[in-house]
């Protein structure tokens, strides 16, 4: 009798400890699932956040490109004075060259990868008179090109805008102060 009772008690306690173990395993499994789910959700949140910022960073890259371009554009072969006005000069834009470039801009519109390039005289200030072959000497703005897209406020840099002028049949170099403006496309 006693033996039977003992074995019954033993089997009961082993059953109890088995169910306890199972419960612990279940608890652990749930915990692991919850933690995994949590990290998956966090990952998804980060991904969504990143993708939503993609357009913004594209615009930022465009803006940075414009900023870098404006610092070196005046000294590029398409714009620079070279040695047309004596020795070579820094930040000097050849106005005659730029006017010719403006006339053939179709070949160059994709060359710089920006939305627009403009040169505006600031001293002397000739207002908003656009530069053409007629108004060339007393104009205020050389609109080199502007694409028909949404563009950001332009970044600018000071340049010296030089050209050949004449006084009493004598040709001389005339340099004026201008700003070179480069605008980038707004991708947002």
């Amino acid at each position: 009798m006693k033996k039977r009772q003992k074995s019954k008690i033993l089997s009961r306690s082993s059953l109890m400890s088995q169910t306890k173990g199972q419960l612990k395993i279940q608890q652990m499994a749930f915990m692991l699932m919850a933690v995994t789910l949590f990290f998956v959700l966090v990952g998804m949140f980060i991904l969504v956040f990143r993708f939503s910022k993609l357009k913004e960073s594209a615009t930022l890259i465009e803006e940075r490109n414009a900023l870098l371009l404006v610092t070196k554009l005046a000294n590029s072969p398409e714009f620079s004075c070279g040695e047309s006005f004596g020795s070579s000069r820094l930040n000097c834009v050849d106005a005659d060259k730029v006017m010719k470039l403006k006339d053939n801009i179709k070949k160059y519109s994709e060359f710089w990868g920006v939305a627009g390039i403009q040169i505006r005289k600031i001293y002397p200030d000739n207002g908003n008179i656009k530069c053409t072959a007629r108004t060339y000497e007393n104009c205020g703005i050389i609109d080199i090109f502007s694409k028909n897209v949404n563009s950001l406020p332009p970044v600018s840099n000071f340049v010296s805008l030089c050209r050949k002028d004449s006084y009493k049949d004598e040709v001389y170099d005339k340099c004026e102060l201008a700003i070179l403006m480069v605008s980038s496309e707004d991708k947002e």
Binding site: I122, F158, Y172, L177
Partner: protein, 165 residues
Amino acid sequence: MRKNILRKKSGQEEMVGFALIMIIVAVILLIFLSFSLRKTEKETVESYEVNSFIQSFLQYTTDCRDNLEYLSIQKLIFDCYDKDKCIDERETCDVLNSTLKDILNESWKVEGDRPIKGYKLKIIIDESEEMLIIKKGNVTKNSKGATEPFSRAGKDYEIFFNAYY
């Protein structure tokens, strides 16, 4: 009774552990968010602007003429130091002063709510002699400045320009 207390204790420990994990993850997330939300602010004045401003205005052709040509600002600085006159008898120093004032007025507008609060332009000879100084607006804590040195006939000229914003 003891078993109950022990069970309660281990349950509490697990909860504390879980809460700790949550707090650590939240802190990591917050740090990540603060990094990704930080925007690169655009400067009011860029260093290259003041640098190129000096280089550009030095090339400006003034209306002062000597026997050969119309003088640039750079040549006018040399002539001003030599106390020369323009062909129309104006003092080169007066022309230099007025032209630079006009150029600065047009290029760096400081009136009203403009981002630029003031500027200062100095021309120094041989590191000590102050040839010209033009100031306008307020001197603030934020500024961008540049210098442009050049020389002629053994004299060292240096132009200092500061824009305050």
